[in-house]
Each structure stands twice: as C-alpha cells, then as structure tokens.
C-alpha cells in the first residue's frame, strides 16, 4: 500500500496514529459507522487470526461498496463459528453452500446481479485454505478464467483447522498436522510445500492479486479497498495464524504473522494483470527460527535435537522470496524491472532515527 514516513513521539498509548491521519486513510474500525459485518458473539477461538482478518476485510469491503455487498462463504472455520444455529454473526446478505464451490456460487450470484441490472451490488467470496487451494481449486480457476466480477478472499491458516488440523495443499514444509504427524524419521509435512495460489491467480492474469496478513491490518484494509476499484476477478490471500493449529499463544497471533513477513517466509505484495506492482519491504529482517520457535507445530525441528538441514531449507525458501520480491528494499532483486516499490506508511518507534 502507498505510505509515507511520519515520526511521532507519543509512547505508552494505544491511540496509535489514527487521529493524525487524514480521514480517508483511517482504519475502518475507528469509525462508529463501521458495518460490524462480522459482529460480536461468534464462536471463534481466542486469538483466532481468521476472525480478525474477516472483520477487517469485510468492513473495509462494506465501506468501499457503501454497503452494497453480498458475501458467499465456503464451509470451514469462518462459516462454522459465524453461524452457530440459530444465530448468525453476519450483518450482511450471506450465503453458504458447500465446501468446494464458493467461487462458483459467487460467480452465479454475480451473474444474477448482472441479469437483474444490479451490478452496483458487489460480490465477495471467502474460504479457508482448504476450500480454496484444494477442493475449491477447479471452481476458483474457472472464476478466474471467466474473469467473473468477484473478490475472492482466502484466509490461509495453512491446514484444515475446522476438522481437526489436517494437512492441506497450503501446509508448509515440515509443519506438524494431524495427517503429517511429528513422528518417525521425517516428522511433519514431508511432501509439498504449499500451493502458491497467488502465483496461480497471477498466471490467470486477473486484474488484481494481493497478499496480506493480520499483522498489518491497515494494509489489509487498503488492499480490500483497492480490490474494489477493479471489476473482474480479484484474489486476496491473507495469512491468518491459528493458535490452536499452529500451537502458538493466542496472544501472539499478530506477532507470529509479523514474523512470517519479517522472515521473508510470507511475502506481502500486490500484482495487477499478472505482474507484481508492489511489495512491502521487510523492516527488520529476522531468521526463520524466530518465527518457527513460537509454534509447537514446528517443535520437532528443535527437540530432541535441532534439525538443521530442514531449518536451512526453510531459510532458503525465505531467502528466495526476499530475492524474488526485493523485500530488503535497496537490494538487487531477481527481476528489478518488474518490481516497483511504492512508498508505504511506516511507524518509527522512538529511538529510531
């Protein structure tokens, strides 16, 4: 997202920055007129990254569309914890059909709106990594290929969490899940390294693709808003830590997400028409072990002994992302001509010059 450096000196306060910003740059959440699309009372776990991401994303979408929004949800954690019969947390028109068909159902909603002459109403489809990367991949690709006017948001917690933490096509290397347990000579996820759906989306050359995390919620809001500037198929991939599945502390959800980006493991970028147009630079680079150590799904990499080769492989993939996207700002990138960095809003903590 575009940003400019500002300095502020107020410390020890949680009223961070908002009132110093122009109104249109303030977080949606700061407005009493926000939609509260996913309102309180849902049954998400303590520290759930998906609940946080969904609330920010949908409220931003509602602001961008002035409330003219229909949401289609795949089966998964979000759908289950948001609609425990007989209650619903959704304050908008919302449809849940099946696990693997959210993109197709959303395409159908879009077609109906077009047929009825109501293209002022926009459509958002949402699903977890399982419903997007695996069982929904065919429908997602179809939606992309037809360039249907839908924003698809994937909340990626890197496994089938709702059913008990099973491996999905988004589960990273070496991670422990119920179906890739940390036992035997090669504990954790030994095959695959997570499908790169943002790249798959870019390969369809759809108007807008972006990644985000719940560590940079303002950036997330910006990306949802930006996505709504486009018509046609758009894809947003949000990293949402799951304390239960990742074995991290509920209080660390945002921290873990930040470490994912600062280590280079999860690059945050935007692409338009199949080409990367912006990438968020890493502010303070950390080794991947800082990130891995906070999650017991990687505990087997450190105990009983440190699995240095596996960690090295993980580090190498982080290094590759950094090189590929030029995440360290002024360094050489693989494709310098393809990556244009735009300035982003940064908050310098005191003590930094």
């Amino acid at each position: 997202m575009p940003f400019e450096r500002i300095k502020f000196y107020q410390t020890g306060s949680f009223a961070a920055g908002n009132r110093l910003l122009p109104e249109d740059l303030r977080s949606v959440q700061s407005s009493p007129a926000r939609s509260n699309t996913l309102t309180c009372g849902h049954r998400a776990c303590q520290g759930c990254g998906e609940a946080l991401g969904a609330r920010y994303a949908l409220d931003a979408a509602m602001r961008a569309t002035k409330g003219k929004l229909i949401a289609v949800n795949a089966t998964g954690c979000l759908e289950v914890f948001s609609t425990p019969f007989p209650e619903t947390s959704w304050q908008i028109a919302w449809l849940h059909s099946l696990f693997g068909n959210a993109p197709a159902v959303a395409s159908g909603v879009g077609a109906a709106l077009k047929a009825m002459g109501r293209t002022d109403i926009r459509v958002v489809a949402q699903g977890g990594d399982g419903g997007t990367v695996d069982i929904g991949m065919a429908c997602l690709s179809g939606m992309f290929e037809r360039n249907d006017d839908v924003l698809y948001i994937c909340y990626d917690n890197q496994a089938y969490m709702n059913t008990g933490v099973q491996r999905s096509g988004a589960t990273p290397s070496a991670a422990r899940t119920a179906t890739t347990p940390a036992v035997g000579p090669e504990p954790g996820n030994t095959f695959g390294q997570g499908k790169n759906v943002p790249f798959i989306a870019m390969a369809h050359e759809i108007p807008y693709v972006a990644t985000a995390t719940v560590a940079d919620l303002r950036d997330l809001e910006y990306k949802v808003t930006r996505a709504m500037d486009f018509h046609g198929a758009r894809y947003l991939h949000i990293l949402v830590p799951c304390p239960l599945g990742w074995g991290s502390s509920p209080a660390d959800t945002i921290k873990v997400a930040r470490l994912a980006t600062e280590s280079g493991l999860f690059p945050v970028f935007e692409a338009e028409g199949g080409e990367v147009v912006a990438a968020s630079p890493i502010r303070h680079r950390v080794p991947v072990t800082d990130y891995l150590r906070l999650q017991t799904r990687y505990a087997h990499l450190f105990r009983p002994e440190e699995r240095t080769e596996v960690i090295a492989r993980i580090q190498a993939s982080a290094d590759r992302n950094i090189a590929r996207f030029g995440l360290l700002g002024n360094q050489e990138t693989d494709h310098p001509e393809r990556i244009r960095l735009t300035p982003a809003l940064q908050y310098d903590s005191p003590g930094e010059g």
């Binding site: 759908e79 919302w94 068909n101 197709a104 159908g108 077609a111 109906a112 047929a115 065919a138 037809r146």
Partner: protein, 425 residues
C-alpha cells in the same frame, strides 16, 4: 407454433420462453444440444439472460444455486456422470429450498462408460429432495419445463425434468411450441421466498444441529406432499391455457378393464402402448400406466388407477435402471403404493408383480420383445425378476471365465471381445 424439431431444440426454445435469467452450461452427451441452442439464443440477443460456460457440472449447479439465491430464475442441464459429479450441490439446492430447474437427459452411469439411454442417473438422485418429472414425448418434455418453473417457484423446491437421452433429445418430432405471450400468461416473474438483498440481509445456509435438523427436513417432506396437490393443479391450468394435456402425476392407457398392466417411465411408454394395442388384438386385456411424476411418488394416484379395474391380475414394472442387490426401484414404490399405508389390504390381494429390467445402457426396447414378454406374463410364465433380451450366452461365457482363473481380466472387455467373435445377435 407447430414445428418438426429435434427434442433438445424444442426444450431449449421452451426454456427460453420461461425467461431464465442465468443459464449455466457444461457439456455432456446427450444434453449438449440444449445448452448450445440456449447459448446461441443468448448470443444473438434473442434471449436476455446471462449464459455462463462453467468448468464442471459441480460448478454449474453451484452457480445456479448462487444465482437463484440472489433472486434470478436459473437453469442448467446435465446427464449421467455430470449429475453424479454435481450430486453434492444437487442435495444442497434442495436442502436450501431453491427453485432451480434442471433438465436431465437420461443416460446410463458408468463404469462401464456408456453414453446411451437409461434412467440410472436420475434414479441415483431420487432421494435428493428434487421433484422428478419424466417426459414421454418431446412435446411433453417442452411442456413439462414450462410447468416445472411454476411448480418450483410456487413450492420453493427444485425440479428435475427427465427426458430420455438420444431417444428424445436427438429425435426430431412434431412439437407445438408455445409462444412467449402464452407462457408469460402462465408463468409469472420469479418472486423469491428468500433472497440475498443488501437492503434486507439474511444468512442463508447456516449449520443446523440435532436440535432443529429433523424439523427442517420435515418441511422438505411437506413440500413434496404439497407437490402432489400442486402438480395436477398446474397440469390442469396448463391444459386450460394451452389446449392439450401434459404433465400431471400418472398417465393410464387402457387400464380400466385390464387384467395385465405395464408400469413404466419415459419414452418407452410409446412403444409399450403399441404393444398393448397388439395384445388387445390378441385377446389379452392389457393396459399401461405411465408415471410422469416420480418424485414425489404418486402412491394414491397409482393405487386408484390400479383399483379401478377389478380384473387386474398382473403388474409388470419396467425398470430402466438396475439397483444391484435390490428388487427394483420403481417396483418398490409401486408395491408400496398398492400396499396402502392407510392400513387397507393390498389390492388386488393376489396381484402378481413382475419386475423387468429393460433397455439398460441404450439397448433398444422393441415392441416385439415387449409383446413376447407380456404374453408370457399373461400366461403366468414370467419370473418375478428378469432382464429383457438378456444375452445368456455372453453372461455364461464370462462366468465360466471367472470360475476358471483368478486373473480373468476386465469383464466388460471380455464380453465385448466375445461379442465381436459371436456377432451381434
């Protein structure tokens, strides 16, 4: 307007007059001509609808679900493997109570892969909660689609219109296609019972646990019960407005004084009626009972038809699908109908019911074979369960092969090889 037209095209034109707003298309033999014709109408701007080419049948039904939930009249068509592939979504549409209409161009389900006509596809979805209508002719196929949209929308329940693949879809017959004004007078614009509306938001598709699931499902059964009343009413209204009968629950043919009645679904009824006439000439009081509405099963109408003739001795139920390990799909429902759930004794008490599995995978059901089989039934020589025109020699040779060696090879290929050696009989 009277036309000599291919069945698929007749259905496409009938559907077009129903003013669908979203049409989803995924190709599978033998329904492709339907969606192709509709696609051409949309492309030429003769039909104002959004035509989506989707990536699978699962996507087709899913998109239709989304479109219907958003308030649009939605339609798709499929057959066989495609119907199975969308099965999860088929159940979903019924469970959500969305009034979508779908054509099923009846085709056999593999393995072995087979593109020809039988009813195994639609039968596999008989418990999904969709209303199932079976067309006897192309005229009826066209007329049933028009009635289907009305039935679906009045009940908020999806409707499947079944027409025999190739035998009807690819046959050119005389069809009277209603004009746009006539259909507009019969089918009003879609008024949804539930809809995704940002001005009045609702959540559709919530999880329902043990505390309420039974009640939600009871309402699905109730919709089916209401359909039993609505379908004849819509058929009567159709007859009044379009000047010809069509649809309804059952279609009896010469059953009033029949001693032998053949029960069947779909286009085979035409051939059966010819056979019935020949048997009557031979002095056998035969009749036929066509079942137009299979779901909900019109038990009372079936019972009343069979009650009407006090001379009924034998029922022959023609099955156009095989339920392995079970006695017959239509047979079970017919037996249930004449067994009278209201406690009355079965009537007639000594009616002999025979199940004949016929025309699987597109094998022709001929008047000659029907006549021979029914004559044998009238004589009392028909077993309770049999396959019409079974090639006993092919079966015997494969069974012998299986007995002789463990590695006997794929049965289908063995039989085909044997067939090419012995010739098609």
């Amino acid at each position: 307007m009277l036309k000599q037209i291919e069945g698929s095209r007749a259905v496409a034109e009938a559907v077009a007059t129903c003013r669908p707003q979203v049409i989803c298309a995924y190709p599978i033999t033998p329904q492709t001509h339907i969606v192709e014709a509709l696609g051409a109408l949309v492309k030429k701007e003769e039909l104002n609808a959004v035509f989506m080419n989707v990536e699978s049948e699962f996507a087709a039904m899913s998109a239709v679900i989304g479109a219907s939930a958003a308030g649009a009249r939605a339609y798709t068509a499929t057959a066989s493997q495609g119907l199975l592939y969308m099965s999860e979504a088929v159940y979903n549409a019924a469970g959500l109570g969305l009034p979508v209409v779908m054509t099923v161009a009846n085709r056999a389900i593999g393995a072995p892969i087979n593109i020809w006509n039988d009813h195994s596809d639609a039968m596999s979805q008989r418990d999904a909660g969709w209303i199932q209508l079976y067309a006897e002719t192309n005229q009826e196929a066209a007329d049933l689609h028009i009635q289907a949209f009305r039935i679906a929308e009045e009940l908020s329940n999806p409707v499947m219109v079944c027409m025999d693949g190739f035998l009807l879809t690819h046959a050119s017959e005389r069809v009277d296609l209603p004009g746009q004004e006539q259909v507009d007078g019969f089918l009003p614009p879609y008024e949804p019972r539930q809809v995704l509306d940002p001005q009045d938001p609702v959540s559709i598709g919530a999880m329902v646990g043990p505390e309420a699931f039974t009640e939600v499902r009871f309402l699905a059964a109730e919709r089916m019960r209401q359909a039993l009343e609505l379908i004849p009413a819509v058929a009567a209204d159709f007859a009044g407005q379009f000047g010809r009968p069509g649809g309804g629950l059952v279609r009896p043919y010469r059953t009033e004084d029949a001693e032998l009645i053949v029960v069947a679904l779909g286009s085979v009824l035409g051939t059966i009626q010819d056979a019935v006439d020949e048997l009557r000439d031979d002095g056998i009081r035969a009749g036929a009972l066509g079942i137009t509405t299979f779901r909900p099963f019109p038990a009372q109408a079936v019972r009343e038809t069979l009650d009407g003739g006090h001379r009924l001795r034998r029922l022959v139920v023609i099955e156009r699908a095989l339920a392995p390990g079970s006695g017959g799909i239509v047979t079970a429902d017919v037996r249930g109908a004449i067994s009278a759930p209201d406690g009355r004794p079965p009537h007639p008490a000594d009616t002999i019911i025979s199940t004949v599995v016929a025309g699987l995978g597109g094998r022709a059901v001929t008047r000659k074979s029907l006549r021979a089989m029914l004559t044998s039934a009238a004589r009392g020589d028909l077993p309770p369960f049999s396959f019409l025109d079974l090639r006993q020699d092919l079966v015997e040779s494969e069974l012998a092969r299986i007995r002789a060696a463990r590695r006997s090879g794929p049965s289908a290929e063995n039989i085909l090889r044997h067939l090419s050696v012995t010739g098609i009989g």
